[in-house]
């Protein structure tokens, strides 16, 4: 799995936030647009793109996009 592509997939779940601001270090829960629906979208994206079933707690315990990437990488 490629980090750059993952960040693109992550950013695609947002509608208002400029996709250019997303990096591995982005603290996604601090973004204005972050919501429980986007959390569900990230979970669905991980399943659809990578076949990994994230739990709500995986999102809750993560701070950066890299953290989520690491959880998915471990599961692959």
């Amino acid at each position: 799995m490629e980090l750059k592509k993952f960040i693109e997939n992550f950013a695609a779940q947002f509608d208002e936030t400029d996709s250019k601001i997303f990096t591995a270090e982005t603290k996604f829960r601090e973004l204005d647009e972050w919501s429980s629906l986007i959390a569900l979208s990230v979970i669905a994206m991980a399943d659809e793109e990578y076949g990994i079933k994230l739990k709500g707690d995986d999102i809750r315990n993560s701070h950066t996009i890299q953290d989520i990437f690491n959880i998915i990488s471990k599961g692959l």
Partner: protein, 250 residues
């Protein structure tokens, strides 16, 4: 002289699907305590047996069945001669935002939550298994009927269809004296939630939206189902009984 109880299920033979866990298991146990003789089904043989061992009284039957498989459905139907009640309870949840719906996820949830219980009902009527003055109850949900829940679109779709079926089947089957009703619970504490992607924290946040400040218990849905199965509800058909701790008031 036996004690006065218009809600008694004594002498009634009742089929309960999805009895291996959650609301189905609680309904089976409570119905047995009310005197019913049960046929319980579920997909998981071990968990179904755990439910079976908790039933009170004699002559109950357990049949492991995947209702989505026609051969297993037919086998189940071949074992049953007559019924006074049927509880269509088997169901799954699936959390997926609308843009992530796939044909397979849509098919899966509709097959289990909507198509299988409708076809079971159809067969029970066609084969004249349902007695006169019998009662069919569906476990539906406030989701898709009264409210919407973020990411719950597939489940809402499946239960919304059940809601339509209940009303129309109630009309169609009234001439046969078969009543058709549903219960529409809000969030109930069952394993089905633990298996999803909802966190404990999200569930606790949800509690604040309930005037009664808690989620329901499986038994509290079972009691409503018992009412609809019993002769106390003899004049009730095509209705949804709301069991939501006041959730839809707000």
């Amino acid at each position: 002289m036996s004690a006065y109880n218009p809600f008694s299920l004594k002498g009634k033979r009742i089929l309960i699907t999805g009895a291996s866990s959650g609301i189905g298991r609680a309904t089976a146990i409570e119905c047995s305590k009310m005197g019913a003789t049960l046929v319980i089904t579920g997909r998981d043989k071990d968990r179904l047996n755990e439910s079976f061992l908790q039933l009170e009284g004699d002559n109950h039957v357990q049949i492991t069945t995947d209702l989505c498989k026609i051969s297993e459905l037919n086998y189940l139907l071949d074992q049953i001669r007559s019924l006074d009640g049927c509880v269509n309870n088997a169901g799954i949840v699936k959390t997926l935002p609308t843009q992530f719906i796939s044909e397979s996820s849509l098919n899966e949830i509709l097959q289990i939550n909507t198509i299988a219980p409708i076809l079971l009902t159809q067969q029970l009527v066609k084969r004249k298994i349902m007695n006169k003055n019998s009662s069919i109850v569906f476990t539906s949900s406030i989701s898709g009927v009264d409210v919407a829940v973020l990411g719950n679109v597939l489940y809402s779709t499946s239960k919304g269809a059940i809601n339509g079926f209940v009303k129309n089947a109630a009309l169609d089957l009234a001439s046969k004296n078969i009543r058709v009703n549903s219960v529409t619970p809000a969030m109930i504490k069952t394993q089905i939630l633990k298996e999803g992607s909802i966190s404990e924290e999200q569930l606790n946040d949800e509690l604040k939206k309930y005037p009664l400040k808690r989620h329901g218990l499986p038994e509290e849905v079972a009691y409503a189902i018992i009412y609809l199965l019993s002769d106390a509800a003899a004049f009730v058909t095509g209705s949804n009984l709301l069991i939501d701790g006041g959730f839809t008031l707000l």
